[in-house]
Amino acid sequence: MKRFIGFIKKEFYHIFRDRRSLFILFGMPIAQIMLFGFAITNEINNIDIAVLDHSKDATTEEIIHKISASKYFSINQFINKESDIESVFKKGKVKAVLNFEKDFSKNLIKNHKANLQIITDATDPNTANTISNYVNAILIQYQKELNKNISIPYQIVPQTRMVYNPELKSVYMFVPGVMTIILMLVSAMMTSISITKEKELGTMEILLVSPIKPIQVIVGKVFPYIFLSVINAVVIVLLSIFIFKMPVQGSLFLLGLESILFIISALALGILISTISATQQTAMMISLMGLMLPVILLSGFIFPISSMPLPLQVISNIIPAKWFIIIIKGIMLKGVGLQYIWKETFILLGMTIFFIALSVKKYKIRLE
């Protein structure tokens, strides 16, 4: 045990003395989350919109006036028929179209209820989302003014319709993906590099010719990175909660456990990589090309798996990241518990055990 602790102490020395790597280690998750987050949540200002007003009465005129008076929107053009909606979007001149129903004012007075459709171009999902929120806010404001002296309130019912990207991928959707990538990268690449570094330096030879057991070396290498990766995971979750106001619906405890499971599977992969590479450079190349690319491309992070060609869909099943993304999306966004994700958890657990067994078996007690 003393040996093992001594080993871990040494590993932490390595980590904390390599300032540059440490900076990348902790700077990267923050930078990535910020990049993904802010590239998507840009404040809107003077967004061009179009109006399709089927009723052309006093109320619609008032609402249109309110909207164009705000600093967020400027009315770019008025269109006359439904079929024009698509063409204005295609021209890319406007980001949204307001579609007032026929007899808007009449309906409002007679039924106390009128319908307004907000159609947004969701190729830029966050803007689309923001636009509809802002329009809603203006409508609510207007309603409040209308309803001041009335017993039965008038109700303007906005219906939001997104075109081109109905799934609405937003920063919320990116958090699980980014988290997966970072945990994979830190865990797998860093461990494989730190083991191959010992090979390069020749210190591995001395470790081998010593009574320290292979399992102690492996666990000793892995342990500090479990620790660091957990910190990274916490940082990412905190950033998304506090900076991007992303609600984490499910249990944080479960999220933590699942993350640790994924971290361990990535670490085992890192060890596996180190057993087949002789230099730090090879280890890095294999980690980047062999792990990062599949994680980005095949895990469902960017491209939905359901729209992939069948062979790729099959391949995606052997990528641990795919299962992890399903799990954390479930926990973070849908708030599900273990009863809904036990299958994915089980698969991930199986993979982890397999990688660990393989890397312990592959770890050489000699030089060749």
């Binding site: 080993f7 390595h14 330096l201 210190t203 081998l208 000699r366």
Partner: protein, 300 residues
Amino acid sequence: MSIIISNISKSYKKVNALKNISFDVKSGELFGLIGPDGAGKTTLFRILTTLLIANEGSAKVADFDVVSEYKSIRKSVGYMPGKFSLYQDLTVEENLEFFATIFGTTIDENYDLIKDIYVQIEPFKNRRAGKLSGGMKQKLALCCALIHKPKVLFLDEPTTGVDPVSRKEFWEMLKRLQQKGITILVSTPYMDEAALCDRIALIQDGEILEIDTPQAIVKHYPKQIYNVKANKMYQLINALNDYKYNHSVYPFGEFVHYTDSRMDFNSKDLEVYLESKNLSSIEIEETKPTIEDTFMELAK
């Protein structure tokens, strides 16, 4: 016997790194493995330290078999690989402490063994190993290899790339360690270091050329060697190479080491010949063979 090597052969793909090597090292002996780069020294060290398995033959270190009892060997030997394998980002003290803990001991426990060496690097104990000079690294690496009081010490080219002063100090340290009863197997490409060992094995291309004490090895040299000198080195070498009675011609510092193929060699004949080749200030005198001469004669 501390090390017993019997008929060891090892090949990598097409290269025969070691060809049927056998020799013994006695307990408490300072044994030198002398040969150029690529002779197979490192391969033999790795087999003896259980890092590689030989294709054929067997070996025992400290009475343990290198294959079946490798775990016992790993507890009882010290090994210093070719490049000083230290953690560059750890300080002198941290390196030593680390190696002590993985061997299940502490610095204090075996301090008397490394004291002589460690005091020389102690002023720098808070310096990172990567910032040490070659000589300092070498001393630290030796301390690390000794920290668990090994019975047998394997030093693979410990003096390569180290300046003469550090080299000399290093050999003095080895002598002192030997007096403490540690068996030492050391390899070096420097022929002049051979004389400092109790016994040496000359090795080239995976084969042992000769094993004996350094004194005996030079005594076995079959010929009388002459130091030849003249005003022009290049012409002298060419002239000697063209001389039909030559046995061997090797530049050796400011001289050429020359041996003649005749039994009744007369240096006057050679002088006359060299003069006929327009050389002047000719000096020819008898000299004693060195390990290097022997090595070349055997490797010829």
